[in-house]
Symmetry: C2
């Protein structure tokens, strides 16, 4: 078991022994940000300055897969307190075939030997999150050249099947909008219904009917409607809303009782 004593570089924070890790299992995080009505994704630049990758890593035998996704995200980008949502397992054996592994290792400028830990087949669990773009200052780990936001519709060259993973995360996030609220960390404390709708429209990449959107949002019971402060000409000003934090978190956990 000479692999047991090998150290695996897990990013900037820690190295782990192979024996401490779940074999053949990894996590990959797709971090979406919202800026200027554009959806972006956070990527790490490989050492070869050509290929990019998702901030991913391995699962310790002692931790849950959810905790692994959080730790890996922090170790590789410096981001923490991010609500990560598991969305899909990528379990095709061809995703870990030798040629892909070897080219990814080259991109990261890591050695790829015969008995390499990376040479086994990996099943990866995808997680995604939607974060507040402005508050995020990502910092790359020691095995990456840089860490940067990319428009989801103009992705650079990515290692492995990371392009497919991003596409799948985007589809999943769009589906999840049907039963999970978003916007809590993306909007100022008070916002208009139009502000909220524009986030949904950007993510869904299509226009929504205003009255239908307003009705569904209000029915979810997660919004507080604010009093208009000024009378007079102000009757034309839109209402301001804020999220009811407790109700929002409850709906995030339980799902909307969305009318079909």
């Amino acid at each position: 078991m000479r692999m047991e004593s090998k150290l695996i570089n897990m990013g900037k924070q820690q190295n782990f022994k192979v024996g401490e890790l779940m074999p053949g299992l990894s996590v990959d995080n797709v971090i979406f940000g919202f800026h200027d009505n554009q959806l972006k994704v956070l990527l790490l630049e490989c050492m070869n300055h050509r290929d990019w990758m998702l901030p991913g890593g391995f699962v310790l035998k002692s931790e849950s897969t959810d905790a692994a996704a959080e730790r890996v995200l922090y170790d590789r980008t410096g981001l923490n307190n991010v609500y990560l949502q598991q969305f899909h397992v990528f379990g095709d054996p061809s995703r870990s075939r030798d040629s892909l592994m070897s080219s990814a290792m080259k991109s990261m400028e890591l050695p790829f030997e015969t008995d390499n830990w990376f040479k086994q087949r990996f099943v990866t669990i995808g997680y995604y999150a939607l974060v507040e773009f402005e508050k995020v200052v990502p910092v790359p780990d020691s095995i990456s050249a840089s860490c940067a936001w990319h428009d989801t519709d103009k992705l650079p060259r990515l290692i492995f099947d990371h392009k497919d993973i991003i596409a799948n995360a985007l589809t999943s996030m769009r589906h999840h909008l049907n039963y999970q609220p978003i916007g809590y960390n993306l909007l100022p404390k008070e916002f208009t219904m139009k502000n909220l709708q524009s986030i949904y429209e950007t993510i869904l990449n299509r226009k929504l009917d205003r009255s239908n959107f307003t009705r569904k949002m209000l029915a979810a019971g997660i919004l507080d409607k604010k009093e208009k402060l000024f009378a007079g000409g102000a009757h034309k000003a839109p209402y301001l809303y804020s999220f009811k934090k407790k109700e929002y978190l409850k709906v995030l956990k339980d799902g909307f009782n969305n009318e079909f």
Copy 2:
């Protein structure tokens, strides 16, 4: 590596060597059936005639996780040609703790030794399917006493975290209804809108608005409206519909363009 030569009983069809399997990874299938307006789940009875379990098993190093779920379902219940949908990964280390493993092995009347394959931590990938109850004649494998349908709201005692897995599958299936059609294998060739709505209502466990449901279903473009054959008193008879197979399968794959 003496574990490598051990044979793992994978059900009625095959035994595999430990070295052929992905370590620490399993799949569990939640098979829902619909009968008499009641939602049911297919379970295997452990040899001790007291505990029940989901038809689950391991992943060969050479096969995709999706193919593993199909193979395992066939080997353990005799069911094939079932469209299995991955819904969640159960990756908490406590789900494979010794006491749970040992009690599950006892229920199956399998030995639980120190160096047992089953003693490692398992991350399991959950799959679900909704099948035509009447056409299913499940046959248990050699490590199970029987195979039977159980009402989802009256579950027997289950091993591991299988009760949680079923609850999670039910929630996922309810969410998926928002962007995936159902009913294709559950209804006769021609059916009324009321027939289809009643399937949705049973799964969602609540009443739906009829005109809203009809509007959404027709908008999806997966239904063929049949001519009424008789005039006269027949104006009170409901329209009959059938699924457009090609469109149905396309929507199943791509998702509804569901208006929020």
